[in-house]
């Protein structure tokens, strides 16, 4: 395309009044090389625009956002609460068991002590009874 025409288009381009078709014409001219020196800047611009357009999104697009993670978290919390409940239940049982054993031990100790006390008391009673018989005999003798 002749230079005069390109210059006209460039002018329009700067004022943002070019159509897409005219811009394509410009793009072709500037990317093909052989650019007039005073229009060199446009060559940089158009080359940049075309190379940028080559860049693509290379990753695959997922449509379900991290759903598995979320549901995992939900189930994890359910499992955790069950485990907690269970452990509290077990802990309570063990605790109860321990308390019962402790009570039994104390009961045994106390009853043993009481038994000892009662045998000793019985001994005392017997001694008192013999004392009474002595006293009776002494009284009889003195009468």
């Amino acid at each position: 395309m002749e230079l005069a025409n390109i210059e006209k288009l460039v002018e329009k381009y700067e004022n943002a009044t070019t159509t897409l078709q005219e811009e394509t014409t410009l793009r072709n001219y500037f990317t093909e090389g052989n650019v007039a020196p005073h229009l060199q800047e446009y060559a940089y611009m158009f080359n940049y625009f075309t190379t940028t357009k080559d860049e693509t999104f290379t990753k695959t697009i997922k449509l379900e956002p991290k759903k598995s993670k979320k549901s995992n978290l939900k189930w994890l919390s359910v499992a955790a609460s069950i485990a907690l409940l269970f452990s509290v239940f077990i802990g309570k049982q063990i605790h109860d068991n321990n308390q019962r054993k402790e009570a039994e031990r104390i009961y045994a100790q106390v009853s043993k002590g009481l038994e000892l006390l009662s045998t000793n008391l019985k001994k005392g009673e017997q001694a008192v009874a013999t004392l009474y018989t002595y006293e009776n005999k002494v009284n009889n003798v003195l009468k």
Partner: protein
């Protein structure tokens, strides 16, 4: 609308979504995440999509809004500036380095433009949408779009001329 129908409608413009996201968010990883997130959103509103005439324009608008949100949010405040590797066009060897440099400069110059000019130049000069579509996507009047585009183009060109005249490149 089932999955394969949905994909048939939305997949053709996935690269455009990605490139717009990258233009706004700069880093490739961020742009990939944004694209992925956008497709979740589209999939969730798939019932509505069937009613839209122009799903692509709708998706581009969503991309734009989503990227703005990302930019505003704290999460994105530690964005890294990653510059992409451009594929080189076949040019004569002696000019290649200088050429590549100038082409990369354009990227940097677009980077420095105001947000709306950035989007518009991306949509027009890279993706080659026509003005009606761009107006819909960015929700602006045609004249405003033209003014922004014209400004963006002039800014880039003037900056390029300046650099070359001073030999900074």
């Amino acid at each position: 609308m089932n999955q394969s129908d949905f994909l048939k409608v939305v997949l053709p413009f996935k690269d455009k979504v990605f490139r717009l996201a990258k233009r706004l968010l700069v880093s490739t990883e961020e742009a990939e995440d944004a694209t992925q997130e956008l497709y979740f959103k589209l999939w969730r509103s798939k019932e509505k999509i069937a009613d839209y005439k122009n799903v692509e324009a709708f998706a581009m608008t969503m991309t734009k809004n989503y990227c703005y949100d990302r930019l505003k949010s704290k999460q994105a405040s530690n964005l890294t500036l990653v510059h992409s590797n451009y594929k080189e066009k076949e040019t004569s060897l002696d000019k290649k380095v200088e050429y590549q440099d100038s082409v990369n400069q354009v990227h940097q110059l677009i980077e420095d433009l105001p947000e709306n000019q950035k989007i518009i130049i991306q949509l027009r000069d890279v993706e080659q949408y026509d003005f009606d579509e761009i107006c819909k996507m960015v929700d602006m009047k045609p004249t405003a779009v033209r003014v922004a585009l014209s400004r963006a183009r002039k800014t880039i060109r003037e900056a390029l001329i300046k650099k070359h005249n001073y030999g900074v490149s």
